[in-house]
């Protein structure tokens, strides 16, 4: 057996590298869009808790979102500004996630026969599938409450509070929402620290610990806060 000469897939030195075209820039875009989402879900979660204040308070809040800023902004003006921003962030986030996932899959085409995880968290290893889960959930969620106003129990759809109670009165609907919140919680647990690291804000061991703690806090507060309303509807505490 004579070994053949060393062959490498890319034996050249690249010229004219640009910072904007690097994988790190993709990550920075992902982090920035992820932080936009965190801001949104925090406010959204807070709004949902109005359900505990009863039918009128909840619907008034929903109405107020639409008339906010009037008459300077048109009806639903602020809502559309937020929607356009979120759609842009979603396109950036998903496109860069896809590009990075593809790179990762071509970076190691021959897999290990045995591979152990030494220190990585479950959440860090499930970002891609968790993200897809959130995306699929998002489609249903918008059909359910925003675009389609689908009432899975067949009732009226013109009253936001009642639509919500009808939805979560079905145990399997509540389960679907809770699974989605688990996915969101995992995504935020790793995503928060990862975003801070990607932005270069975790240059010491202490800063790293703080960023990981922030991930825990946001995951519990956001996923937990969202889960309260469906759970309490199912338990009959929040009712029509």
């Amino acid at each position: 057996m004579t070994p053949v000469a060393t062959h490498t897939s890319a034996p050249t030195l690249v010229k004219g590298s640009r910072a904007a075209r690097s994988t790190i820039t993709l990550k920075i875009l992902m982090a920035a869009s992820g932080i936009v989402f965190i801001g949104f879900v925090l406010v959204h979660m807070y709004g949902n808790l109005k359900a505990f204040a009863g039918h009128d308070a909840f619907n008034e809040y929903a109405h107020h979102l639409r008339t906010f800023g009037e008459p300077i902004l048109p009806y639903e003006g602020l809502l559309w500004i937020v929607r356009v921003g979120l759609i842009a962030a979603l396109v950036v986030h998903v496109a860069s996630a896809y590009a990075l996932a593809r790179r990762a899959s071509t970076a190691r085409t021959q897999k290990y026969a045995v591979k152990k995880n030494r220190s990585s968290s479950l959440s860090s290893r499930t970002m891609r599938w968790g993200g897809v889960t959130i995306l699929v959930f998002l489609v249903w969620h918008l059909l359910n409450f925003t675009i389609g106003k689908i009432n899975p129990s067949g009732g009226a759809t013109n009253d936001p509070y009642n639509l919500m109670v009808d939805t979560f009165d079905l145990w399997w609907m509540t389960i679907i929402y809770l699974v989605a919140m688990l996915a969101l919680g995992l995504h935020l647990h790793h995503g928060t620290w990862s975003a801070l690291q990607t932005l270069g804000l975790t240059g010491t061991a202490a800063a790293r610990t703080r960023a990981k703690t922030a991930g825990w806090v946001l995951a519990v507060v956001i996923a937990g806060g969202f889960s309260l309303v469906p759970l309490f509807v199912l338990l009959g505490v929040i009712s029509k």
């Binding site: 057996m1 070994p3 053949v4 060393t6 062959h7 490498t8 897939s9 890319a10 034996p11 050249t12 030195l13 690249v14 590298s17 640009r18 910072a19 904007a20 075209r21 690097s22 994988t23 790190i24 820039t25 993709l26 990550k27 920075i28 990075l100 790179r103 990762a104 071509t106 970076a107 190691r108 085409t109 021959q110 897999k111 290990y112 026969a113 045995v114 591979k115 152990k116 995880n117 030494r118 220190s119 990585s120 968290s121 860090s124 290893r125 970002m127 790793h190 620290w193 990862s194 690291q197 990607t198 932005l199 270069g200 804000l201 975790t202 240059g203 010491t204 061991a205 800063a207 790293r208």
Partner: protein
């Protein structure tokens, strides 16, 4: 002690390899992991079989030449290099799976030997400072604050072994680059080329086909020199700064 070894055999870069199983008896727990492989190779030689090719040089944990995936862990179960791993970390009767580093940017040359030329090319793109030689300046003329000197020195202990890439689920070399960026970026001598360094090194890294970092952290856990994850934050920060400066 007696071991069952599952080892990756591949005749050359173009061949398709396979795992093969070997039984090895009489292994002392005082042997290093590479000495254990030396014993196996002597037996293979005696039988007229092709010995198993693996890399090593210093065998004292400082050169970064050795590096094997041992039971799914880069450099095995301890925080050290493969050459400094000893058989006392294993038990009689153990089954040990040994594979080369797996990354398309590190193609297998033969058996357990991979070509890490990609690291050399990343270094060529910026892992240096430009200085006139021939007239050594007075060493104390450039003061370096103690904390910066210490951090720079600690990150300079990276030996370029590639365990970080091998352990990373994305096949990213961010920890390696971060170590170099931090080592040179903490020193006054590293400043003139700082923006260009990070852009060129990352450009080469991406060109070689390494994956993007998702901050999973398997790299730092596998690193025999305990390079911490902060260096990846530093790498990202330097790239962001270069972006702002229009590079």
């Amino acid at each position: 002690m007696k071991l069952t070894l599952n080892i990756w055999r591949q005749a050359d870069a173009a061949a398709t390899g396979e795992m093969r199983t070997y039984a090895l008896d009489g292994v002392s727990e005082d042997m290093s992991f590479l000495e254990m492989l030396d014993v196996l190779n002597e037996q293979l030689n005696a039988k007229g079989e092709e010995p198993i090719a693996f890399d090593s040089d210093c065998r004292e944990g400082i050169c970064g030449t050795c590096g094997l995936m041992i039971n799914g862990q880069a450099h095995g179960p301890e925080v050290t290099t493969t050459c400094q791993l000893h058989m006392r970390s294993f038990k009689d009767g153990d089954e040990i799976t040994i594979e080369p580093w797996r990354a398309d940017a590190f193609p297998v040359v033969k058996d357990l030997v991979v070509d890490r030329g990609a690291f050399d090319r990343i270094i060529q793109q910026g892992g240096f400072i430009s200085a006139n030689t021939g007239s050594a300046p007075e060493a104390n003329s450039v003061p370096v604050p103690r904390d910066k000197a210490l951090r720079s020195f600690n990150m300079a202990t990276c030996i370029g072994c590639g365990a970080c890439v091998a352990a990373c689920p994305n096949g990213s070399a961010s920890l390696f680059m971060g170590a170099k960026i931090t080592h040179l970026g903490e020193l006054p001598q590293g400043q003139p080329e700082r923006d260009q360094r990070v852009v060129n090194m990352v450009g080469q890294h991406d060109h070689e086909g390494f994956g993007g970092c998702t901050n999973i952290g398997e790299c730092a856990a596998a690193c025999p020199k305990e390079i911490p994850l902060d260096v990846i934050s530093q790498l990202n920060k330097d790239l962001r700064t270069a972006l702002k400066h229009g590079h």
